[in-house]
Amino acid sequence: MKEYTLVAMVSVLFVVLLDRLLRTRLTGRAEFWIFIGVMFGFKLVFNGYLTWRPIVLYGEQFFLNVRLGTIPLEDFLFGFSMITLTVVLWEYAKGRSFGDSHEGGGLHRQDGEIPE
């Protein structure tokens, strides 16, 4: 297995596991996948530009060299992990009111969910 391919796959596994571990469970929600779709839309433009120019270049021996346009397949795994890790940590910390301005700022619950 190519190194970048392997590391990228492991990163996805790790982030999905973290989502379960922290009980944020975003990967089970429909709006999460809509969000990923929107982010991948942006990604096609910006990652596309980076790899088309190219501003970033890849070592042949470390990835599959299967590309969507000019974007390596592995970049989608990399991007998924990066984006998902951010919102998992965000939802986790938001639920625990990390460093919020009101007093306490500790572990009291404040869900911040939009009422449905």
Binding site: F46, L85, T86, V87, G105, G112, E116
Partner: protein, 104 residues
């Protein structure tokens, strides 16, 4: 043009930065969480980037970066992660906002 990567970063952040002021999203009600999430993502991804660049998984064009850098990564690449982190949270909160409205 050596500022191309930097300009690209500017284009990524500019509209989310302006639109995130919208109180309906409530993004800045949780500043601590915002920092926690962005830094918490940046640390492992900076490390991944440093090691991958050192091993030759990828490298960066000198033609389109300004030339400043640290640990094998151009300045633009360092900025890439906090910027994408911020944009991710903005886009997530926007998605949740519109999703919530749709269902009401």
């Amino acid at each position: 043009m050596r500022s191309e990567y930097l300009i690209l970063l500017g284009l990524i952040i500019v509209f989310p930065l302006i639109l995130s002021r919208d109180a309906k999203l409530g993004m800045y009600k949780h500043r601590g969480a915002l920092w926690f999430a962005v830094i918490g993502m940046c640390i492992p991804f900076w490390l991944w980037d440093i090691v991958a660049a050192a091993r030759g998984h990828w490298w960066f064009s000198g033609t389109y970066t300004i030339g400043a850098g640290w640990l094998g990564l151009p300045l633009e690449e360092w900025l890439f992660f906090p910027i994408v982190g911020f944009v991710s949270i903005f886009t997530w909160e926007s998605t949740r906002y519109f999703w919530g409205r749709r269902k009401r």
